[in-house]
Subunit: 437 residues, 2 copies
């Protein structure tokens, strides 16, 4: 019989142990930070009724969603993000949930992305959301979570850009963008960093019918650097405050930055050009850019989020204020690999070498004692030559080998070898365990 | 606009924090045991090419698999188990993997099961497999992993039934089952405990064309109680040893039980009627039944596995000996819930009560200090009445509340309340942290 060609689908990939160990440690660290901030775990299905997910992500989302008919001829779709399922859960289980509902979820989502840009079609999101929380402290917590996670992951150079959709709206209105076209203006402004001011100006002229000087004026406003809330206030009073939304947005951003200060967050800065693509944001928005080196910027935002006070209405029929943050695990993992921050290591601490077929009982006995002491260990199953056994240890990044032959047996000792320094010493079992724990 | 009805698909469910915390702790314990035994994590995609999965699980599997056409019109299928993807990975990445390849994977699989029997269509498997390992110690390790995991989960009463397909084959041949019908005989025998001897005898007569006395003879043989390897030897020499496969199977089982003894495994016993449904097993097989109470048996096997020395051939064109164990997380979780073994608890340790709007800065400051010390904590966002705040703490199983009012501020102290005993005391910040860590 001809073998089946072993292969993965485009945009899907395996994570072999070397990578998965590092990735799994990243997830544990992020989980730890979420729990530190009072978020609790939730799990939702990979498949949902199509109408639960459809119509929430804009045109692109509609195209990229995996949908099919299940065995009962139901229209189903694969999870596209973790926010919409959260909104569904908050509505469906509203009588069983604490309010505010602070939950986190770390899980894969599926999008049939264009793989030519190096995008994956299956990737993990690490989301923490608060449903039923008024603006202010909760917004700051979602931002503080990013800073805490980045620090725990060993990332030192990053910027969390923060903006407020109401300020953006006010800027749009000031620049004479018609109210019904604001969302298009926002989507255009979102691309200033990526495509440059010139391309964005052209898009504004073409899609919004703005005059060239109007488009340039809008870009100038949105690109104004405001290092802190004080500078923002000056900017607002000069240009924007006549728009009531501008005043509201400023007060909100001010509240958030006050709380950020109390939390000691030092990587957040105001960026008036930050827009975020998704339609459902209503107020606070933020994104995180790595600045380890110029190259790391190409990964785009590795963690972002915002406030979406109307999304839950789609399921509950009433507004429930909500805010959330999403850390893109796999994008972050790639960026960390590039920056040399994703450690390569194994999980096994000791390999017991198979040196003498007659001593198998002794090997299994040593193995059992090591495991009983909580030391990750294994025994090389076959009595192959030592070179092969050492190279196995090396390939799994195992730091120690146990050597036990007739000589050791006579002396009732065990020889342990540090596989990096190649130093070895003979010990009693008890000493060996004490040394390895 | 009419709200979308928030609902999940039949056979799919949410795990709210109360349950997910317990479930997530179970996964961590199982992961810890896998790593203790030298297994390293692997992650494979949720979607595979259909031909990678098809034809490996028998007729039932073919029917229950979720398949559809993706955006590129490819035939794809959702992960049905973790063993076939492992076989694919071992073939696809054979040059990058340590040999033997010891990997674990904890992940959901999808099967369009009949939900009337209470079965889920999405459930987690926790698998550990060894590809490229000779029979003996590796088989015993997979069984030892079950015992270690059960003990870590607090399950005391369980039996791991062990058998060998070659012994079963020899029993079949002894009872005059034609070689090409052995697999049907095995599937019938597999149901003795579930359906009773009478129903199985009828199935053997009907499907295999056996005489009534032949069928009864087969069931008698397969139901023989053999408390240990010694008793098995006697049984074999009396009835079965004339079949060469019987001798081979006995020697294999003997090897496995020798290693189990060295590992100190005490819950494994021989069960000649254990058959396992899947076709691909070739030798050692095992299953785990909870015996906490009679009720817990209805969950069936909560952990099982076996040796499949030919499965990898489908991808590589050559035999690679392999053995694996699969722990059914969600079945085990249900069983533990029934047995009262799934603890209900939260992850948050401290709730800072919102008692005085003017002290918000102080609250955020206390919160930051607790988090900096690694204590999971949160602040109640709104200055609601105390009853509401306490009931929030209760619903999240938060054990401590921090009370800080004008009085505490004056004294530069913090009052901490044990929400179970309702006792409270006033402390300096440093003492509070020391007491909570």
């Amino acid at each position: 019989m001809k073998p089946i060609e072993p292969r993965t689908l485009k945009g899907f990939r395996d994570y072999l142990p070397q990578e998965q160990i590092a990735r799994s440690r990243m997830m544990e660290k992020i989980k730890r930070v979420f729990e530190l901030y009072g978020f609790e775990p939730l799990e939702t299905p990979a498949l949902e009724y199509e109408d639960v997910l459809a119509g929430k992500y804009g045109d692109e989302g509609e195209q990229l969603m995996y949908r099919f008919k299940d065995h009962g001829n139901r229209d189903v779709a694969m999870r596209y993000d973790l926010t919409v399922p959260l909104a569904r859960v908050a509505a469906q289980h509203k009588n069983d949930l604490a309010r505010p509902f602070k939950r986190y979820q770390i899980a894969p989502v599926w999008r049939a992305e264009n793989t030519q840009k190096g995008r994956l079609r299956e990737f993990y999101q690490c989301d923490a959301d608060i449903a039923g929380a008024p603006l202010g402290i909760s917004d700051a917590e979602c931002i503080a979570v990013i800073e805490a996670a980045m620090k725990d992951l060993g990332i030192k150079k990053f910027v969390i850009k923060v903006n407020n959709r109401k300020i953006l709206n006010a800027i749009m209105l000031t620049a004479k963008v018609p109210p019904e076209k604001i969302i298009h203006g926002i989507r255009a402004i979102d691309k200033i960093e990526k495509n440059g001011a010139k391309a964005v100006a052209e898009e504004l002229e073409k899609k919004l019918g703005m005059e060239k000087h109007e488009a340039e004026g809008l870009i100038r406003l949105a690109s104004t650097k405001v290092p802190d809330v004080g500078a923002l206030k000056t900017f607002m009073s000069k240009y924007i405050l006549r728009q009531p939304q501008g005043k509201e947005g400023f007060d909100e951003l001010n509240k958030v930055f006050s709380a950020l200060k109390e939390f000691g967050v030092s990587h957040a800065e105001i960026d008036l050009s930050l827009a975020r693509g998704l339609d459902y944001y209503t107020s606070t928005i933020f994104e995180t850019i790595l600045t380890e080196n110029m190259e790391s910027r190409r990964f785009g935002s590795v963690a972002g989020g915002g406030r979406y006070d109307h999304l839950l209405r789609l399921f509950t029929g009433q507004d429930i204020p909500a805010i959330g943050v999403s850390i893109g695990l796999d994008r972050l993992f790639s960026a960390m690999q590039d920056a040399g921050l994703a450690e390569k290591s194994g999980t096994v601490k000791v390999l017991i070498l198979n040196m003498d077929k007659n001593l198998e009982t002794d090997y299994l006995n040593i193995l059992s004692q090591l495991r009983a002491a909580g030391i990750n260990s294994e025994f090389y199953y076959e009595s192959a030559d030592m070179k092969k056994q050492f190279s196995y240890a090396e390939s799994k990044h195992i730091p120690y080998a146990v050597l036990f032959g007739a000589n050791e047996k006579k002396k009732n000792e065990i020889t342990v070898r540090d596989l990096k320094t190649r130093k070895q010493k003979s010990l009693k079992m008890r000493e060996l365990i004490r040394g390895l724990i």
